[in-house]
């Protein structure tokens, strides 16, 4: 055994995006210390926390993005550090998705943190960037070692971020659950790695078409007969990945964690983790283990089908929007697994493209929810969302836009992505996956539309019996009924659409307005006493359209991205994904 350490400047250049992120993360910690945290402007409101740090973090992400693009153009696509980390287009493409999600998550953060009065922001953004870094590392890993490193980096950062709202029990619980289960799953993954190492004698992946840094791929190409050791290793590896991409039956943590975690974090992690883990999954299975594909395909196929069906099915009766989106992300993981099963350049390209589209849609949807979530983690139930359109039309519009995109309606990105993925399934010789995917999409359509229906088509919720408040809406409706227009007072929309002007429709109009006010002024439910006062002020911040401009910016960017990806950009993005996939 001899160790020689040679790291050229080119190697460092190949991981420039990661370096930028790491640097900025450290910088943020430093700046956080230097920023004035006391004095006339309290921490909870100062520009220091809510402008400088996020801006810095965003600049870091943008810098990494710039580095990624530079690498796309001028990079040599070679592996760095003796084949430990890739800088190929495939990794870079995954960076795009991860960094987009990170950027959006950061943009959604300040408003959210300000509303929840979370002041420890240096850590928050530093961890955010660290998690991003971990994801990128995971996506770019070309050795089981870097893979594990990336996985743990992102996980460790996310454990903390999930539990970041320390005053919220559900947040802590989310962090705890994520921590325990993820470590548990990592152990399986690691054991799998060990077994594969035992079977192949290397932890490097090895690259296609070159024998510069031989690895598992080369070994398997030479010995295509799989041993039991290898098979069990692959099985355990599958578990680890399946956990990270939340495939059924390893999905159970997903809804809990997504629900409990702060919404911007969920926005980020739901996309970033999935992107990184899937790219790694795809790389390991569809590229490195490709010679033994016959052995693992059935398992991944079963996972994909289970996940598509189960994810959509479980989401059907969800009434909490965050949980619903969590299950929907499970379902999307199922669709993505189609790409792994289908394999080939098209399958991988489809995964890459899908991830990019999904980044904007999902981050956008969670971002919209971040504007609704309250400190006690309420505010995202379907009941809360009822009649949102009448209270905050633009927010409802954005949320509906993202949900429709996730449901796969053109012209949003979701459709193009899904189309490509299903196409890949057919090309990979799996028409049954195409059919299952298509049919489960119908299930998916139901819950997205149901949520939209709640926002757009149902009146704001009526106050339960026993409540002290009688909403003006009911009062007006009652008065209307007294005036003999009872049939029309059925809902704020009622028949006003086609009825001619009369007492009734004006009555209905008034009802809408007051109902909206009533809901926003609604007294908090009976909760833990200390939070009540805070919540009252929080409600004030939620009321009306006083959304922070940053949230609007985030939503706008996400929507723009989703639309552009669905309509204009696929022209070359798909081509790019195809080329990128070939380099994985």
């Amino acid at each position: 055994m001899s160790f020689t350490y040679i790291a050229s400047a080119a190697d460092w250049a190949r991981i420039a995006p990661e370096l930028v992120l790491a640097g900025v993360a450290l910088l943020i910690l430093l700046v956080d210390l230097l920023l004035p945290q006391t004095g006339a402007v309290p921490r909870e409101r100062g520009a220091a926390n809510f402008f400088v740090l996020p801006l810095l973090a965003l600049l870091g992400v943008l810098g990494a993005l710039a580095a990624t693009i530079v690498l796309f153009v001028v990079g040599d696509g070679q592996r760095a550090f003796f084949g430990l980390v890739g800088s190929d287009w495939g990794s870079l493409y995954a960076y795009l998705a991860i960094l987009s999600a990170a950027g959006l998550g950061i943009i959604f953060s300040p408003a959210y943190l300000k509303r929840l009065k979370l002041v420890h922001q240096g850590e928050y953004y530093a961890l955010f960037l660290a998690a991003t870094l971990g994801m990128m590392l995971l996506a770019a890993a070309t050795s089981f070692m870097t893979l594990f490193l990336g996985l743990e980096t992102l996980s460790l950062a996310l454990y903390i971020l999930c539990g970041f709202v320390t005053r919220r029990q559900s947040s802590q619980e989310a962090g705890m659950k994520y921590f325990l289960l993820s470590s548990f799953a990592s152990a399986f993954l690691l054991y799998g790695v060990a077994l594969i190492y035992g079977a192949t004698g290397t932890t490097r992946f090895g690259a296609r078409g070159t024998s510069a840094f031989p690895g598992v791929l080369q070994f398997l190409q030479a010995h295509p007969q799989s041993t039991t050791l290898l098979l069990i290793g692959i099985g355990l590896l599958t578990v680890g990945f399946a956990f990270k991409v939340s495939a059924i039956p390893f999905q159970m943590w997903t809804p809990d964690v997504y629900e409990g975690a702060p919404a911007p974090v969920t926005a980020f992690m739901s996309v970033g983790t999935k992107a990184a883990a899937l790219v790694a999954f795809a790389r390991v299975f569809a590229v490195v283990l490709e010679p033994v594909a016959a052995d693992w395909q059935a398992v991944v196929w079963a996972l994909a089908v289970l996940t598509m069906v189960g994810g959509n099915l479980l989401a059907l009766v969800q009434r909490n929007a965050k949980r619903l989106l969590a299950y929907s992300s499970v379902a999307h993981a199922g669709y993505l697994l189609i790409g792994v099963v289908g394999g080939g350049a098209t399958g991988l390209a489809a995964i890459l493209f899908y991830l990019l589209c999904y980044a904007f849609l999902n981050a956008g949807a969670f971002g919209a929810l971040s504007a609704l979530e309250r400190l006690d983690n309420s505010g995202c139930d379907r009941e809360d969302l009822r009649g949102l359109w009448f209270r905050r039309p633009w927010l409802a519009g954005f949320l509906a836009f993202f949900l429709l995109g996730l449901a796969g309606f053109p012209p949003m990105a979701g459709f193009a992505a899904k189309y490509y993925l299903f196409f890949a399934a057919l090309q990979g010789g799996h028409p049954e996956l195409l059919l299952i995917g298509v049919l489960t999409s119908v299930l998916g359509m139901y819950y997205y539309l149901r949520l939209i229906a709640a926002m757009f088509m149902e009146p704001a919720r009526e106050v339960q019996a026993g409540s002290l408040e009688v909403t003006p809406a009911l009062a007006v409706a009652g008065a209307g009924a007294g005036a003999g227009v009872a049939p029309r007072a059925s809902g704020p929309l009622g028949r006003a659409a086609s009825t001619r002007t009369g007492g009734a429709s004006t009555g209905a109009a008034v009802a809408v307005k007051t109902a909206a006010q009533a809901t926003t002024r609604r007294a908090p439910e009976v909760e833990q006493a200390p939070e009540t006062r805070e919540q009252a002020t929080e409600e004030g911040a939620l009321a009306g359209s006083s959304l922070s401009w940053t949230t609007w910016l985030g939503l706008g960017l996400a929507a723009l991205g989703a639309l552009a990806l669905g309509t204009v950009l696929p022209f070359w993005l798909v081509d790019l994904a195809l080329k990128a996939a070939a380099t994985l």
Binding site: M1, F3, F144, M145, F148, L149, E152, L156, Y159, I160, G163, T166, R167, Q169, S170, Q172, E173, A174, G175, M176, K177, F179, L180, S183, F184, A187, L190, Y191, V193, A194, L195, Y197, G198, G201, T202, T203, R204, P255, D256, V257, E259, G260, Q318, R323
Partner: protein, 102 residues
């Protein structure tokens, strides 16, 4: 001195791993659960070292270092979370943590 066959090491490692797994499943204190997870990681380490030696390859040993480091980091984060929970709840039983479900 006769060499102990590699398979024995691996069997020990598998046993350790299984014990860890069972520990995760049956214990309710997150600290102990976490210790079980550490046990699983160390079982893997044992496997890595054994295989590294068997294959005459450094990869496994390097991997062990990484795993150790990561495990240490995990301990830090895990304990922090546990402490944080303990502060608000005065109770860290994992079976009490089911606000989020369904």
């Amino acid at each position: 001195m006769t060499t102990i066959p590699v398979s024995w090491y691996l069997i020990v490692s598998a046993l350790l791993f299984t014990i860890g797994t069972i520990g995760v499943l049956v214990r309710r204190n997150p600290l102990i659960i976490f210790m079980s997870i550490e046990l699983m990681l160390n079982a893997v380490n044992l496997a890595f070292v054994t295989l590294s030696s068997y294959l005459d390859s450094a990869d496994g040993q390097i991997f062990v270092f990484i795993v150790l480091t990561v495990a240490a980091a995990e301990v830090v984060v895990g304990l922090a979370i546990i402490v944080s929970i303990f502060r608000t709840r005065r109770n860290i039983d994992v079976d009490e943590m089911n606000l989020l479900r369904g």
